[in-house]
Amino acid sequence: MHKQSSRGWRQAMWAALFLLPYFILFISLKIGPLVVNFWMSLQELDIIGKGVFNNFGNYKVLFQDRLFWRSLNNTFYYLVLVGPVNVAGGFLLAMLLNQKLKGRIITRTVVFMPYVIMVTVVGAIWRWLLDGRFGLLNYYLQKIGLESVPWLSSSSTAMIGIAMASVWWTIGYNTVIYLAALQDIPKDILNAADIDGAGPLRKLFAIIIPSVKGATAFVVLTTVIYSMQVFGQVYTMTSGGPQYSTVTLVHYLYVKGFREFNLGYSSTLGVVLFFVILALSALVYATFGERKAKG
């Protein structure tokens, strides 16, 4: 008995020792700041000096700040543009790459490769591709007889330009996740469906889509979370313009905090981001979790 507890005590000592270095970082730079951020959102806080509690002043400003609502709106617009294309497109690409075709490995490589490129390079490339006068996209649009579009310099198309860059950058990620899921579907199930005379559409809806539901849940969740945090593309391609049409939540948070040094207000925007992501994640979990329980 005594020996047992001394051994347990020694294990706990080792555990404390092993956890110490990581937890210093984790508490001071990961979990701690997240908690402190709520507290800072209640203060008027600039770059130096102590904050002053201002009786929810930041939140009062927030609700009347039209630019904040605009940024929230823009962020959701971005999600609507990118999300469906990235999820459905990723799935369809994976379906194609799952066929026994020569050269599909090359296509997989090419589709995934943009994903390892840094966001500022993505922004630079697409700013050039989407240039109003000399851009490649407009050149080909005109070639096939369409009007050229002032992509990034018009408030009605700038976000679409950013969304195109994002899809190019990240769709390969979803493709690879779906491809792995497709390859995990047992072959005999598909063969049995063939023998039963199930057509391709029936096979798709009765077998394939239900089988990759886990992947879909994951892909939807990450697409939503990362869309809400879009920043680098906006920063490099439009700086939020023209006429604030591409200011997103995180871009606004950055500008308020680190251009205008209104740190308290920036924290408040961080709190909003936190709850928006929490709510959307819960929504995704609820949607996919329920169906799982039924199945």
Partner: protein, 290 residues
């Protein structure tokens, strides 16, 4: 007889048409996906007057390296490279050291509150970093670390994903091995580094790729804390070339911009092409974003 022959041949035609269509799709997708990267390359080797032309030429009429030379002359590219490399390598070393030890504690040692702590660490993976950026900034400032490598490295090493991945893997390393080692008088310190870690090479490879690429491409946080040649990394440096007025002269020099962009992402592209299998594995195994 005749009819079945007809339907047989029509089935073959359908099959042929189907594969023709699929190959066509494959080719179009490959081309479209490749276009931006190729266009960056093509532009980077063109002279300024050839870039701003209404007629598009994929192959430059005269190849020039002047954009690359100018890029190194105009911008402190070597400094940005140096900073990116040191930040990535030091982040990797710190991450591996901290994560391996923490993961061992979570997977091989018994202590009170283990599951709660582990759940907290795992839950933090999905939480948005941006929602904590102001307190992080205040802390780094108060510690006098602004504009240093440490400012960029420490928050990256605080990420929890490595702890999670390693702990999951360590759990499957058989306990008999460590128990027999313990009988031989090995302490946990030696079991960890001599037995468990060498058996975990596959997951370590995944973590190494994730950490290096993440660090190389990390943008928002370095943008906030890096200010001078002492710490500015490639993504931040490239952004500084582009920012300010988007119609600024340098930002409109697309040859120069594309050359600088290509130099910045060449390392990750090269490593990806060589270690493609491991990259894709690191995504499918972990389901993780870089």
């Amino acid at each position: 007889m005749n009819r079945s022959e007809v339907s047989f041949s029509s089935a073959r035609t359908t099959k042929l048409l189907r594969s023709l269509l699929l190959y066509f799709l494959l080719a179009v997708i490959t081309l479209v996906a490749l276009t931006p990267t190729l266009w960056m390359l093509s532009t980077s080797f063109k002279k300024q007057h050839e870039i701003f032309q209404t007629e598009v030429k994929w192959i430059p009429r005269e190849f020039t390296a002047e954009n690359y030379i100018k890029s190194f002359e105009l911008f402190p590219l070597w400094m940005w490279f140096r900073n990116s490399i040191f930040v990535a390598v030091l982040t990797l070393v710190l991450t591996l050291a901290c994560d391996i030890m923490a993961a061992y504690a979570f997977s091989k040692l018994n202590f009170k509150g283990r599951n709660v702590l582990f759940a907290l660490v795992v839950a933090s993976i999905m939480l948005p970093r941006e929602a904590a950026i102001v307190p992080m900034y205040r802390l780094i400032r108060n510690l006098g670390m602004m504009d240093s490598w440490a400012a960029i490295i420490l928050p990256q090493a605080a990420e929890a994903i490595g702890v999670f991945l390693l702990a999951q893997f360590f759990r499957n390393v058989p306990n008999e091995l460590s128990e027999s080692a313990a009988l031989d008088g090995c302490g946990h310190w030696r079991i960890l580094w001599r037995i468990v870690t060498p058996l975990s090479v596959p997951i370590l490879a995944v973590l190494i790729i994730l950490t290096l690429v993440n660090s190389w491409n990390n943008f928002l946080w370095p943008l906030i804390v890096a200010a001078s040649e002492a710490s500015v990394t490639l993504p931040v440096g490239l952004a500084s070339v582009m920012s300010g007025s988007s119609e600024a002269a340098e930002a409109r020099q697309f040859g120069l911009l594309m050359a600088t962009a290509f130099i910045s992402c060449l390392p990750t592209i090269a490593v990806f092409l060589v270690l493609q299998k491991q990259f894709i594995q690191s995504v499918t195994m972990t389901g993780l974003k870089y």
